[in-house]
């Protein structure tokens, strides 16, 4: 709890918080990582010793005040430590997306002028080496995993553990300097620089100060009453602001334990083993888990299936009410308790959610069924709305006021207002300092009074005071006949179907809407297996007539639901196609946080969009794809274009 923390005025930087935690929670675990099949753990005291040694190692390599230290790798304690060690030296940590291709990395490394780079493994080192001939300011590269690194030219390269050893050996030489540097840190010195995912254009470097991070952590920890006993699983990209807030900001403020998975592929197993009490995941993780559960229940015996269906029906009816502390009849309570014993308990255990106290989802809209599923099991899943520039929190849902269609009330310390054009603005202690080397963008995003434009359109709901987000402000447009066009609204409805992974709706300035669909290979593949539909590839499955038929039914249902809303009825989808490849961040079609880049998709597949509007039944296309190692290839396909049923078409017929 934040008890004594409030009075702690000296805790004005992450290194200062670290020292405070050593004094307060010294013997409690601070970090765990599964390595060689066993959870290795470090107490606050041990972690602090490692971090100090690493910082002294950095000093020995010549890290200067204000240097940028890029960190590229998966969630590992040593990478988190490298960020804090950099802060101790007065440098600025810059975590990067590890799945970025060399080209994207080159831009960011060049933009921030990184002099030091910490890489997770050989793969990341290779990318840095590749761009080094263009970017000359990189002084030294460090790597965590030694594997395959022996043959590299080590004149400007070191294993991170050797740097730590060097720091430790040079203890007497560097300690004085290190203390001096730590003492220089203030509430307004830069804590971290994070690059936005760049839905539009080049990524921007968001500079966040210690004040931003610590104030935000302090408020949000108090909001959810987090304590030093929480366990979190750190598995989301380190370059993402959310991970920084949860795994550094809140963890340092509240003093809880950060657990790092063994590898990305073991995430689900590790989740179950740790059983976090505080958990964050984007909707797709919850969707994926639910899909897995449903697929496996399809394979269960009749009795088990019946038991599952029976108690899930009950849970859907009374579960959320029980979670919110609303009145529920005695019989239902009894039934729910039994269900807890037979179904919910074991299921939560399998999912790794047995101990969860607070769960958050954000980033995208979550399907109401998915959201209700988890809440009905008694998992306190809530939504929040935030962005990098706000150090995450803008609004969040208080316990007991949780719904799938709002994003909650303004977080503590945050002011929110709606502009004349419907755009959401906020002002908070977490509001970023500036965009690095980009005063124009800073000025156009943050006004003199500190209000920041989110770029999202939304409104406050009458009565509850909860914020609802409709769409990206710039995506909301008009159709040719002046009707409102809100693509995200329709896309989200489509994406709530497990079979649909992504949807991109077009229609701005046109007389009707059309859509690209990406099927979900897990869900549709499983369905195909059950229905004896053979397929050899994603492309073949996507083009199957029966899959088309299935997707058409989903779209018809969405159309019917969209038609209910008189304002948005123009957004019904008239024609669609299923894309022959998954939209991919490597091809620039999505951001690294998996948000569709609408303009790029529209540009790249202009031929397909044209075909959707000229009434053809099929079209041949060739698409360039990039592989993970940066090579290019091409996918050739002939795609089917299909019609969907539109409701209430009088208005439309005229246009046709």
């Amino acid at each position: 709890m934040a008890e004594a923390g409030m009075a702690d005025t000296s805790a004005h930087s992450i290194p200062a918080l670290l020292a405070r935690n050593v004094a307060r929670y010294g013997g409690y675990p601070a970090y765990r990582e599964k390595e060689f099949g066993i959870w290795q753990s470090w107490t606050w005291a041990e972690a602090a010793e490692e971090i100090r040694a690493m910082a002294m190692g950095f000093l020995s390599l010549g890290v200067e005040r204000g240097d940028h230290v890029a960190i590229i790798g998966r969630n590992r304690p040593s990478h988190y430590w490298a960020m804090v060690a950099a802060q101790m030296c007065g440098a600025v940590p810059v975590p990067l997306y590890q799945d970025a291709v060399a080209e994207e990395m080159a831009y960011v490394l060049d933009h921030c002028g990184a002099r030091f780079v910490v890489c997770g493994d050989q793969e990341q080192v290779d990318k840095v080496v590749e761009v080094e001939d263009r970017i000359h300011h990189i002084k030294h590269v460090m790597y965590t995993d030694k594997r395959g690194m022996r043959k590299y030219d080590h004149s400007r390269m070191n294993a991170l553990e050797d740097v730590v050893a060097e720091g430790r050996a040079g203890h007497y030489r560097y300690e004085h300097e290190l203390e001096a540097r730590i003492a220089e840190l203030t509430y307004d010195s830069t804590c971290v620089m994070l690059y936005t995912s760049g839905t539009t254009g080049k990524p921007k470097g968001v500079v966040l100060s210690n004040r931003n991070i610590i104030e935000t952590a302090k408020n949000s920890v108090a909001f959810d009453k987090l304590t030093h006993n929480e366990e979190v699983l750190a598995y989301l990209p380190m370059a993402w602001v959310g991970d920084f807030i949860f795994s550094i900001g809140q963890a340092m403020w509240a003093g809880f334990t950060v657990n790092c998975p063994e590898s990305p592929a073991t995430m689900m197993t590790d989740l179950r083993e740790i059983g976090p009490t505080y958990f964050f995941a984007p909707p797709r993780v919850f969707e994926g888990q639910l899909t897995q559960v449903m697929i496996r229940m399809e394979d269960a015996g009749r009795f088990k299936k019946w038991l599952f269906d029976h108690y899930m029906t009950l849970a859907r009816r009374v579960g959320p009410a029980i979670l919110d502390g609303k009145p529920v009849s005695g019989m239902d309570r009894l039934g729910y308790a039994l269900g807890g014993m037979f179904i919910y308990g074991p299921l939560k255990n399998t999912l790794g959610f047995s101990r969860i106290r607070v769960g958050y989802t954000a980033g995208e809209a979550i399907g109401p069924e998915i959201f209700d599923f988890y809440r009905s099991l008694g998992i306190n899943l809530k939504q929040l709305y935030g962005q990098t520039e706000a150090s995450v929190f803008i609004t969040q849902q208080p316990d007991g006021q949780v719904r799938s269609d709002t994003v909650g009330v303004p977080s503590p310390g945050v002011e929110v207002k709606i502009g004349d054009n419907g755009e959401v603005y906020y002002r908070s202690p977490g509001t970023f300092v500036e965009y690095f080397k980009n005063p124009e963008s800073t000025a156009s995003t943050k006004d003199a009074e500190g209000w920041v434009a989110t770029g999202d359109a939304g409104f406050f709901e009458e009565g509850s005071g909860h914020l609802r987000i409709i769409d990206r402000a710039k995506d909301v447009g008009k159709m040719a006949d002046g009707r409102l066009f809100a693509p995200k609204y329709v896309e989200n409805k489509l994406k709530f179907y497990p079979n649909i992974l992504e949807a991109v709706v077009f229609g701005a300035g046109r007389d009707r809407c059309t859509a690209f669909i990406n099927i979900d290979l897990t869900a549709v593949g499983n369905w195909a297996e059950r229905n004896n539909i053979a397929y050899a590839s994603y492309q073949e499955l996507a083009g199957h007539p029966k899959v088309y038929e299935m997707i058409r039914r989903h779209i018809d249902e969405v159309n019917a639901s969209v038609a209910q809303d008189p304002m948005l009825s123009g957004c019904q989808i008239h024609r669609f196609l299923i894309l022959h490849k998954e939209l991919d961040a490597d091809d620039g079609e999505m951001t690294r946080t998996r948000k569709v880049r609408r303009n790029i998709v529209a540009e790249k597949y202009a031929d397909l969009i044209a075909a959707l509007y000229d009434g053809r039944d099929s079209i041949y296309t060739e698409t360039e794809v990039s592989y993970e190692d940066g090579r290019k290839g091409a996918i050739k396909a002939t795609l089917t274009l299909a019609d969907a049923t539109v409701v209430g078409t009088e208005h439309r017929m005229a246009a046709e």
């Binding site: 594997r147 395959g148 022996r150 043959k151 592929a265």
Partner: protein, 272 residues
Amino acid sequence: MNAMTEGYMTADGRKIGGVLMELKNITLRFGGVVAIKDISFDIRDGEIRAIIGPNGAGKSSMLNVISGFYTPTEGSVWFKGYQRGPMRPYQVAQLGIARTFQNIALFDGMSVLDNIMTGRLTLMKSGLLSQALWWGGAAHEEDEHREKVEKIIDFLEIQNIRKTPVGRLPYGLKKRVELARALAAEPKMLLLDEPMAGMNVEEKEDMCRFILDLNDEFGTTIVLIEHDMGVVMDLSDRVVVMDYGKKIGDGPPDEVRNNQDVIDAYLGVSHD
């Protein structure tokens, strides 16, 4: 035999040591069939040595001679400077030779972890009784072996399937598990019989990386049979080419690639 002591440097800066195994005038007959006809070559310490040739050239028989599974009808095998007589499989393992098979030979019903643990069997010292009773040094010993096995699991990046029964795994992963089991014996020399057969490009790339890395990290000598010419030419330091049981070429990949006999017999048309 001054080659015993000399080594050579590879283009990528690895130091190859002296002769680890020497095969002298090997002939192998099965009744009237001559599988291998008077072949001699050597394998050096730390080297990646490939054996290639068209189908039925006698590659797998050669590998079986190297592994000691077949005793050559004529000729002799010298390992670490000593002539090797007929051997039982456990003796081969004790010499520090491990292998993988063309057709995967794993225990389908056992987990990946247990399969890899079997690779350490010859290194375990505690007796049957103490192992069965989990008594004395047996528990402690298993911890030590498990630690070694976990390092291999980490090395081959198969943490996520540690507890999965092998029977449920796709082909490419089974191949990797088999490699893991061979590595578990901490071999001095590793024999790989078509490690990339039936793999897709991505799996092949992974496997190549593992082979190079394990040669680099552990200094393991590797002898492999492979059909994918791209793989062989990229991976190996020296190549033996066989055709109809005879050796028709031996040398670095570039040299073999330009050898007219080899081109005629196997590679067909040069692509350069």
